[in-house]
Amino acid sequence: MTAGERTAHPTGPLLLSGGGGVTAPPPARLVVDGLTVVFGGVTALDDVSFTVEPGTVHALIGPNGAGKSTCFNALTGVYRPARGTALFGTHDLTSMPPHRIASVGVGRTFQNIALSPSETVRDNLLLGRHHLGRSGFLADALGTRRARHEERQALARIEAIAAFLGLADKLGTPLGTLAYGDQKRVEMGRALAMEPRLLLLDEPAAGMNASETESLTQSIDQIRSELGISVLLVEHDMTLVMQVSDRVTVLNFGKKIADGPPAAIQTDSTVISAYLGEPEDWTTPHPGDGPGETSSER
C-alpha cells in the first residue's frame, strides 16, 4: 500500500494525519497477543499480550533487560517472533515485510539518536515521508513534474511539523550542529512526518535534562490530544511515564507482570519488587526470612 502524498498544510496548524480532504483511515488499536521472541534458546519475550487503545498513551516499562526493546523490535519487524501476533487494525505487524510497517501507519523513534548528523534537519525530516512518496528513481533523476510536485508538498508538510516542534528556524542547519535536545526533537519530528496513527517512542527522554523532559511531556500530550495519534512509549523516566500515560504495562524477565493505570502500577507490590528487589534478607545464599533489613512496606 503506497498511500500517496497526503495533502499538506503549508502554514496551518498540524492537523490530524491524512486530514485536508483525504479521508483519514479509521483509528486502529494495536492488539499484541502472545508475543514470544526466542534468541538461541533464551526466551527474551514470553507470551506478552497487551492492547493499545486508539488515541491513548500506553507505556511499556520494566527494569533493565526486561524485554521492552525486544518487544519494540518485534513490533517493527527487526526481530521475527517465534509465536504470537501484533494486529494493528487488520494488519499483523509480525508477518509483514519490515519496510511495509511504516505504510500501515506505524512510526517510531530510536533510543540513541538515529539521524544523519551531516544532513540538514530538513533532509532528516523528509526521510520520514519516504513511504508516502511515489516518485521512483527515474522520475527523481529526471525531475518530472510529479516528482517536483511531490517534493514541494512534502517540504510544506515538513515545515508545518518543524513549526509544531519549534524547529522552524533550524530546517537548513546540519543536524550534527544542533544541541542534544533539539536533535531529540528532530527524531520525534521525523516520526511525525511519517503521518503515523501509532507512534512508538523508544526512551524519548534518555539524556534529557529536566526542562527538556518537561517540554517532551507536553509534546507527547499534544500528539495524543491534538493529533489523535496513539503512542506506545518505552521510557525509564518514571515521572514522565506516570504523567503522560493512560495505561502502563510492566515487563520483567520477558513476561508481563502488571498492566493497569499509572497510579495502580506505582503501588503494585510486584512492580515495586521487580524494580527494587525483594525487601528481604540478602545475606544468605538460600531463601530465608531472617531478621534482615526489611523496609516498611511489608
Partner: protein, 247 residues
C-alpha cells in the same frame, strides 16, 4: 581511597550525563550507587575506569582521585594497574573465548606469574562451578555463570577497588542471591566495592553507605540503614508524579 568530586560528564557534544556528582569510597569500604536507568550510574563508572572517551563521552569538570592521584586523562590500562577494575554492565564476557582465556584476559595487566596464579586460585575458590568448564567457550554459560565469570575475570587483576555495574541485571532471584553472597565475600577479603545497582534492597544489604542518582545528580545519600528505611528510593525509581488525571 577513591574520591570523586563535582564531576560533570557529557556525551557527544552536549548531552549532560552527570552534573556535579561527588562520591567517595573509603579504603576497604563498600558503597552503592542507586538510581533508575538513565540516571548516570554507568557513566560515573566509565569516568572512573577511563573508558568514557572510548564510548563517545568526556569528563568536563571536577576531579577523580585514587589514593591521591588524579585519574583524569589516564588510559584504562593504567587505571587497572593502579588497582581499580570494573565489571561491565550486561556481563560482556568474551563469548568466543574459553573461560580460561577470559580469566587470562582479565589478568593481562599482571606481569607476575605468582600473583596471577594466586588470583586464579582465588577466583576458582569463589566460583567452583567454573572449574570443570575452563576450556569451554564462555558464550555457552548461563546468565548467572557469565556474571560469575565476569566478576572472576575482574578479580584476576587483583583489584583493590572492584566496581560492579548492575551485577543482578536479568538474573533470577536465586542467582542474585548467590552473586550478592559473592560480593559480600569479596568485600570481606578487604577489597573495596563500588556497586551500581537497580535492585536497591540487595545493594543496601551489602554496603555501608549509598547515594541515589537522578538525572545525573545526586538526589539522596546516606548510610545503608538510613536509606533502607525511607521510601524515597522507591519514589525515585517509580516516579514522583501520579497519573496524569490528577497531575
Amino acid at each position: 581511597m577513591l574520591e570523586v568530586q563535582d564531576v560533570t560528564a557529557v556525551y557527544g557534544r552536549s548531552t549532560l550525563a552527570l552534573q556535579g556528582v561527588s562520591l567517595s569510597v573509603p579504603a576497604g569500604g563498600a558503597v552503592a550507587l542507586l538510581g533508575s536507568n538513565g540516571a548516570g550510574k554507568s557513566t560515573l563508572l566509565k569516568a572512573i575506569s577511563g573508558i568514557l572517551p572510548a564510548t563517545g563521552g568526556s569528563l568536563r569538570g571536577g576531579t577523580v582521585r585514587w589514593e591521591g592521584q588524579s585519574l583524569k586523562n589516564r588510559d584504562p590500562a593504567w587505571i587497572v594497574r593502579a588497582g581499580i577494575v570494573q565489571v561491565p554492565e550486561g556481563r560482556r564476557v568474551f563469548a568466543r573465548l574459553t573461560i580460561e582465556e577470559n580469566l587470562r584476559a582479565g589478568g593481562i595487566t599482571c606481569r607476575n606469574r605468582k600473583t596471577t596464579a594466586q588470583a586464579r586460585d582465588r577466583v576458582l575458590a569463589l566460583f567452583p562451578a567454573l572449574e570443570p568448564r575452563l576450556s569451554s567457550p564462555a558464550g555457552l554459560l548461563s546468565g548467572g555463570e557469565q556474571q560469575m565469570l565476569a566478576i572472576g575475570r575482574a578479580l584476576m587483576a587483583a583489584p583493590r577497588l572492584l566496581m560492579l555495574d548492575e551485577p543482578s541485571l536479568g538474573l533470577a532471584p536465586l542467582m542474585v542471591r548467590q552473586i550478592a553472597a559473592t560480593i559480600r565475600e569479596i568485600h570481606g577479603d578487604g577489597t573495596s566495592v563500588l556497586l551500581v545497582e537497580q535492585n536497591a534492597h540487595m545493594a543496601l544489604s551489602l554496603v555501608d553507605s549509598a547515594c541515589v542518582l537522578e538525572v545525573g545528580r545526586v538526589a539522596l545519600e546516606g548510610t545503608a540503614r538510613e536509606l533502607s528505611q525511607t521510601d524515597e528510593i522507591q519514589r525515585s525509581y517509580l516516579g514522583h508524579g501520579t497519573d496524569r488525571t490528577s497531575a
